[in-house]
Structures are given as structure tokens and as C-alpha cells.
């Protein structure tokens, strides 16, 4: 199975796309970490919300329907999710996080959709990046779960959250054009 090029290349391109964009990668893993910190059913609800919102945004993007300020939205999502890793716990409002994740997920999906290679199947490409996104969420959930086993790991994860938020600020400044 699977070869690069030809009609099935859409799936492979879609699978690889989120992994090779640092902003997407950080945001998607962070969604998993934050959902783990919220706990309970949020472990699957929050990532599922992001994946569905991505599918919606991706459909807009594949249809070349513009979504204003998408680059800024992606950068802000990394800041938000990094901050989420730093502060989120079981008492944090899951509804607020879910709503924000839905909002930001559409931006990420749109970015993937507009960058679809012309030669590939939109359906397989979309399937590819949704599977890849869900996989990154799972790795984030696992990171969050492992961190709960030891106090120092949890403290370390909070520091990582600050670093992720800082990376988001960098992406935002780059999008605005303040950093070349």
C-alpha cells in the first residue's frame, strides 16, 4: 500500500502537512495536553471538537473560500494553548476551552485546505490531515497523562506551556511582519 504521487498522494500529503508546520504541530499536541489537564470526557471531547472544526475550515480552504486573518488566528491559537498548558486544570471551564478550540481549529483547517496540492484528491487529502491531527492530539493526551504521574513532570509541563506560548508570540510577530 501507499506510494507518493498519483491519485493516492493526497492522503500522504495530508498526513504529513500538520507534522511539518511547527505552528500546527505545537497547537495540535497542545490541544491534547490541555484536554488531558481538563480530564474526564474532555479528553476526547476537546480534541474531537478541534478535528471537526478543522474539517469545516479545511472544506472552506479546499473551496478557496477566504477566512480573514487565518495566519494570525493560528499564531494566537499557539499562544492560547501554550497558556492553557500552563494554567489549565480540572476546575478550568471546559466550555470556554472547547469554544476557543473550535474557533482556532477552523483556522488550522483552512490553512491546510488552501495549501492542497492541485494534483491530489481533496477528500483523501482532508482525511489525511484529520487523521494526522487526531494522532497529534493523542500524543498530547499521553504527554498530559504521563505528566500527572509525577509532580516534577507536571511542573515541567507547565514550563513547556510557557515556551509554547512564547513560540506563539514569535509566530504572531512574524505574521504581522515585526520579525522577518
Amino acid at each position: 500500500m501507499l506510494h507518493p504521487g498519483g491519485s493516492d498522494a493526497g492522503l500522504t500529503s495530508g498526513l504529513l502537512h500538520p507534522v511539518f508546520g511547527l505552528d500546527h504541530l505545537l497547537a495540535m499536541v497542545s490541544v491534547g495536553v490541555v484536554s488531558s489537564q481538563l480530564g474526564g470526557k474532555n479528553i476526547w471531547r476537546v480534541p474531537l471538537t478541534f478535528v471537526l472544526a478543522m474539517g469545516f475550515g479545511g472544506a472552506l480552504g479546499v473551496g478557496q473560500i477566504p477566512l480573514p486573518l487565518a495566519e494570525y488566528g493560528i499564531a494566537v491559537s499557539v499562544v492560547f494553548l501554550g497558556a492553557g498548558i500552563t494554567v489549565a486544570n480540572k476546575e478550568t471551564s471546559a466550555r470556554l476551552i472547547t469554544a476557543c478550540v473550535m474557533f482556532f481549529g477552523a483556522f488550522h483547517g483552512h490553512a491546510h485546505g488552501v495549501e492542497i496540492p492541485q494534483s491530489v484528491s481533496p477528500l483523501l487529502y482532508t482525511l489525511g490531515f484529520l487523521i494526522s491531527t487526531a494522532t497529534l492530539h493523542i500524543f498530547g493526551v499521553v504527554i498530559g497523562e504521563v505528566a500527572t504521574m509525577k509532580g516534577f513532570l507536571l511542573r515541567g509541563l507547565r514550563v513547556v506551556g510557557v515556551a509554547v506560548a512564547a513560540a506563539g508570540v514569535f509566530f504572531l510577530l512574524k505574521s504581522i511582519g515585526i520579525i522577518a
Binding site: M1, L2, H3, P4, G5, G6, S7, D8, A9, L11, T12, S13, L15, L16, G39, G40, K41, I43, W44, L124, L127, I131, A134, T135, I138, V141, V142, E145, M149
Partner: protein, 146 residues
Amino acid sequence: MNKTKLGKIIITFALIVGAVVSVAVDWNATHLFNPDWHAHAKFHDALMLLLLCGVTALGVWQLWRKSAEPDVAIKIACLIVVAFWLPFFYITWLIPGTSLLATEGVSELVLHVGGMNVYPNVVIAGTLLLLTTVGYFLTRVEKQNG
């Protein structure tokens, strides 16, 4: 959500994604309906896909049915993933003349890491094996902690 359930969800994800990706990639003109392929090669590809779908359904059912031996079910589900995806790492060495690419010479998605070619299907295989391993160990955590 307890870690055993999370582990089972991850193993289920690996099983289903493996089947979906395999069918999505092979059920088209590059593989199953490739006019250059021998009819019997197409037969074997279809057989492999249908067998994979059946075994995947069996694995998911094993994982989630009420069982007196849930640990055995988890191991079976994990071994299904291992049995299908591990050979991606050695088939081309085991059987000369086989290839990881359906069409030679198309290599824009082959990664080059440290002088080695890393094929996307091997990356997928590795990812699914890693997910399954993580899922399996999550199911063991609570058992080990009593």
C-alpha cells in the same frame, strides 16, 4: 477517564486508522485498479484489504466486549496492529524484488534522513506501532499500581 480506557481508545484508534488508511490508499488506480497490475496481484491486494478490515473489526470487538479475560483481548488487539504494520520494516529485505513504492521514480514524499530514505508508509507504520505501544502501557499502569 481512567488510563485503561484511554489506552483502549488509543489501540482502537490505531486499529481503525490502519484499516482506513490502507483501504484509502490501495482502493484506486495506483494499486487495486492499476491496469499494469496482473489480475492475480489485484486479487491478493483485495484479499489483504478485506482481511485487514475483518481482523480490525475482530480486534475492536475483542477490546470492547465484556470479557472474563480483558488482558488477553488487549494483547490480541495490539498484536493485530503489530502483525500488520511491523513487516513494513523488513519485507523488502526478506523478499528481494519487492518495493515500498507502487510507482518507482516518484519520490517527492520520501524523506531523506541521515542518508537513508524514509518512506511515508514506513512512517505511518512506525506511528501506529508507537501509538499501540503507548496504548498498551497505559492499560498496564493501573494494574501495576494496584
